[in-house]
Symmetry: C2
Subunit: 455 residues, 2 copies
């Protein structure tokens, strides 16, 4: 195949190379590819091809590849290869990613792989496994340097020299100082080691009682911690103050980005985790459908308001043109308010109990925009049929329903959050159902009152 084809469809070349069983050439080829291209190429291979690629690579290189893939895709890949191979690859991953990936496997497969891990890695996993992924314990890495408080600087330097190879993957920005029992006593920056005489005991030069977080600290607390402090990592301790690991700033940033990505997906109706187009079609269709079927039921409920006014509609058929417009525009106005509330909630600029304050703020914006949209739509109604009353009915309904929809859109996320319901998930359907019903009701009840002037 030509070079251009390789560039556009690198998975074809990838599959060929895997067939030839040459791990090193395969690794060199993958090294040349960008992360996105790698993930894309892997996902386009048939299952056998994927298995072939990942088992042909040496475990360390396969682990590098696994690290580059989105977690869900990586876990799927680990399910397709023999447990022994999966275990060799997992051995090479940092502790937090190891725990995340095993956590995504189904229970049987996870069990099979765990028995193949070497005891040290398995016990590392056991320590991390009971933490949810979005608390300090689930985000921390357990690869860090710590020394007893009685150690001298020279001994630390000697130890680092002796284990230079093993520590090279560590994130050694800080060195932690612990008591005999493993309790966190102090911290040293690497530069402190450079500046101190070799004979100094760590306890005499360390920063005492360093800032730390509990293993149970949730992501929001960690985000706030790193907003407030310019550190690149923070030690994690348990209730007895025993040092357990280190949470790095960029792992927190990454978790936050993931969460906001997931909130976006949820708000758009992709529920129950990410969807990739490489997933089986039935799984994709049924997961989307679960969301759609709730929405269609809510839609039918809302439309039943129209059914109750069939006589009015028959008399003034022009109204049927305006119903979808009012429904859609109220959705638009309300969605803007939802987005501002979601953003302010995530930045901590507003608290769930402040729904009333938000409502006040939305009322003014909603009134201004309601009047503007009402005048516009009312004008269209008036000009189209040359009937001022038709314009009045749709214009006033549009204006009022805009006020209602920004009120609901602004406050519902706060109220849901207060009652511990995920606002990314539920705000949209609640908003559109209520504003649809209310919008239909306004147009059709006004029209019924003015029927003599309209027909």
């Amino acid at each position: 195949m030509t070079e251009e084809q390789t560039e556009l469809r690198p998975w074809v070349k990838l599959a060929e190379m895997a067939e030839q069983d040459d791990g090193e050439a395969l690794d060199a080829f993958l090294d040349e590819m960008s992360v996105g291209d790698t993930a894309r190429a892997i996902s386009r291979l048939e299952p056998e091809g994927q298995e072939k690629v990942i088992t042909t690579l040496p475990p360390q290189d396969a682990a590098d590849l696994i690290e580059e893939l989105p977690d869900r895709q990586a876990a799927d890949l680990l399910t397709k290869i023999p447990p022994h191979d999966a275990a060799s690859i997992l051995e090479e991953l940092p502790s937090n990613q190891l725990a995340d990936l095993i956590g995504l496997l189904d229970a049987d497969r996870a069990e099979q792989i765990l028995t193949e891990l070497n005891p040290e890695t398995a016990s590392k996993f056991q320590r991390l496994a009971h933490y949810p992924p979005d608390v300090a314990g689930g985000l921390m890495i357990t690869e860090y340097l710590s020394y007893n408080e009685t150690t001298r600087v020279q001994d630390v330097v000697n130890d680092m020299r002796a284990h230079a190879e093993a520590y090279s993957d560590y994130d050694v920005q800080y060195t932690y100082v612990v008591s005999e029992k493993g309790a966190l006593k102090g911290v040293l920056r690497l530069r402190d080691l450079i500046l101190a005489p070799g004979g100094t005991t760590l306890s005499n030069m360390m920063i005492l009682d360093p800032i730390h977080v509990q293993d149970t600290a949730p992501l929001d607390e960690l985000a706030e911690f790193f907003d407030r402090h310019q550190f690149i990592g923070v030690p994690v301790v348990d209730k007895t103050r025993t040092l357990l690991g280190v949470v790095r700033r960029y792992d927190v940033e990454e978790a936050l980005a993931d969460r906001s990505g997931n909130d976006y997906l949820k708000s758009q109706g992709i529920v129950g985790g990410e969807e990739f187009r490489t997933m089986p079609v039935w799984r994709r269709a049924s997961r989307r459908l679960s969301w759609l079927s709730i929405n269609i039921l809510l839609n039918i409920v809302a439309a039943s308001v129209i059914a109750a006014y069939q006589d009015t509609l028959s008399a003034v058929i022009a109204l049927a043109v305006f119903l979808p417009i009012i429904s859609d525009m109220s959705g638009c106005s309300g969605t803007q308010a939802v987005a501002v509330s979601m953003r302010e909630l995530s930045l901590g600029l507003v608290r769930p109990f402040e729904a009333l304050r938000v409502w006040g703020k939305e009322l003014t914006v909603g009134s201004i925009n309601g009047v503007a949209l009402g005048l516009l739509l009312g004008g269209v109604g008036w000009l189209w049929k040359g009937n001022l009353y038709l314009g009045l009915v749709v214009g006033v309904a549009m204006a009022l329903n805009t006020v209602v929809s920004v009120s609901i859109g602004g406050t519902v996320p706060l109220i849901l959050k207060r009652f511990k319901v995920d606002p990314a998930l539920a705000s949209g359907p609640i908003l559109t159902t209520i504003t649809d019903m209310f919008g239909f009701f306004l147009v059709l009840s006004f029209a019924t009152l003015m029927l003599a002037k309209l027909a």
Copy 2:
């Protein structure tokens, strides 16, 4: 006021303290507050109160406060205080944030503040100002350590010792080695300095020809770089290989999180930057309205399809109940496909030229879900009026329009991206306008064909 009130409404206390002109007490009070609370409290103060707080604090503490606020809010605050005070605060910020904030000010105000900056800071800003905020040059910090290649380890350690205070704010994870002319020659990790004898010349121990990025490298490239490499920072060079600064991993992660947050806001109709409820009401209303007015025009265009079939509607008034349902549900199905495409685009799992492939993938999902939703809605139509043909009309229209909407939803983001139009912004309105028009057309033209059976 009671302690509980202080906790719920800390800005009242804040305003009181600012009145008393006690910078230190104010700083101590702010130190006790969480980042979210601080931002919230500041935003609730009247303009004079905000000005009072920020000018009462010592510049370094005011800078810490500014760093905690969202950029937009921080820039607004800097606009409200005298240029001289703003300049003293900006002096204390890291270079990348300095450039970001000045970039958000209007031109006059920025000019006033620039003349008040000390020449060194002003020239630092000038070097950064011509970079867009989302390329390496705009994201980098210029606070880093670099030494000439002929320097000895002992001299580096002495320099670090002598400037320990000045460097304490630096991000000294790496030390860069440069030529006489400032070209990047090598890099040292701090631990290398610890492990090397003091007499060693840097050029003899540095990692040669270190990995670096161009100052023009866009955010996507940087994200990919940090995905691929486990570094916490990367040196930035210009075309002549002169070292300009350092991009840190977490600044990249933060920029990515900001972008995905902004994409979410744009997709929900908050266009032209973030909106905070503390902004003036007219500004909020008019920015939202600019988006709404485009949407209402598109809606009127779509609804004109209904107007063309008024006779059919008059004959079968029940159809009016189903029009908003079909419009809304097609929006839902299409939005799901948009979200999956946006996500796959941002992960690099799909490229803009692959619209055809995505379309194929969506066709199957759309057909399955279209049949399911069509059966459901068709069943409702049949049972409600006891007319099988009504069920057929709405069911088939629903099914076909679902296929159309997922086709458009899946492919439009890729096509927009290919033509350099922001898909977060334009996908939604394009999707709903086309699916509305097509949905209305399907229901009403089928109904017209079957009018004899329906009426």
